[in-house]
Amino acid sequence: MQIRSRRYYLLIAGMLAVATLSGCGSQLSVVGKDAKLPADENSAAFLDRMSSQDTVTQNDAMRGILMLEGGDKTDTFKQRVDALVDKKIIPAGSYDASAKLSRGLLARMICCSCGLKGGVMLRTTGPSERYCLRELQYRKMMMNGSGSTKISGMEFASVLTRAEIYKRTRRFPDMVGDTD
């Protein structure tokens, strides 16, 4: 019995070691590292370009979030991902420059950029796509809907504008962008 218990302990320790060595924890993986966007694009031009797009790529989205953070001084997608990981706005994970942005990922980035604490679940579990989206929906900063849905350019521009108003005033804007 004692031998069996010892074997069990060894087995569990071995599994933990294998899991750790095999990268059970998240690793940063970036596809399209050198993908670029129009140079010298200010936020007005960026929003204008976004408003005419059917979908938003992760590359575009990260430029938008960096603009929310004060400006995009990066050149490539890899630099944008690194900058956002450093700011703890996105976790180290898999990102693709040409992948379409989901509402969940946008909600997570907005929540982290605006420093929204959220309700019980968001505070308990930390920023996750699901609860960040629910928080933003509750605050009327995002439209109701599933987190896996791909977001349109107009919707992205609208959410970004509302997030900027919140960051500037620390108050949630109403439906016409006021905080009175």
Binding site: S43, S146, T161
Partner: protein, 329 residues
Amino acid sequence: MLRYTIIIGVAVALCSGAAMAEDNKPAVDKTAKTTVKAAVAKPAAKAPAANPGDKLQVTVVSVSGLAEKRSASEEKAEWSAVKAGDVLDEMTLLRTGLGGKIVLKFADRGDVTVKSGTKIGIASFRKRGKLVQTRVGLKYGAIRAQVDSSRGANDFRLRTPAGTLAARGTGGHFAMWGDFLFQGKGTGGAWGGKISSRVLALIAGQWTDSELKMPLSILLDKYGITLGDEYGGLTPSELKNLLMNGGGRGIIGFIGNPRNPGSPKLILPGVVPMGVPVGGPIDGSDDPDRYIDDPERGRDRSGTAVGGPLGGSDDPGRYVGDPERGRDR
């Protein structure tokens, strides 16, 4: 007999001539006397090409943050920074960046504040006689418009991808979002909204959206008491699944199956049938007459204002804060 026939014939001809002349009058004269609702329903007649009116100028009062302008009439025109004191002509596009703001003065007929993250276009700003005609397009973002009619009649129209708004001496905040689409809030006077064939008059303190929802419905959506989140912990797909398969499937059957008349019905928030009375006395009475007939409480879901607080106050806080008048989704 012949004399009577001639007199009647002349009288009929005169009457029909007068009626035709009335019909041929410009719609502008008509709308000046009618309500905002009618003004939107009957657009002002186009002026003859020979007299398009005198051009007026829009002046930039102040600029903060990032703001740019471009002429829409020149194909290869570049975006350039907007400065206070700039004079803008018709067919000028304006856009603001994150945190940007522009205040525009439309001669002596009002001002427009272009808020952060917005793109608008000045399509037309002309004076015809005493009437000043203004056409502004809003692609995305939000603006605040204050129209001043103390110096003459105005025909101010704001066109968005979702619909058109018209004003006659009033103020309001309007937004066009990619997700919530058109949103409007009246702050003074009256606005008329038109989307497709639907028309709505909006007065100070009232809201509407891209469906031109009745202001009361917007109020209910905004202040309605919601326990937990709007979906009750379920995603839209989960809700749909329950709607389709609920009833007779174990624990999730409590919601009921709309296909099964015998099962209890699920009424989703936001899709409560129009006309269903909500809220009401705290004692749980469900007598609809108590909601409709009592002027202290009366409002129903159809948006019909049936009474309200005595004195005509329209303070939403008075409805929401009073537990006697509490309402649910």
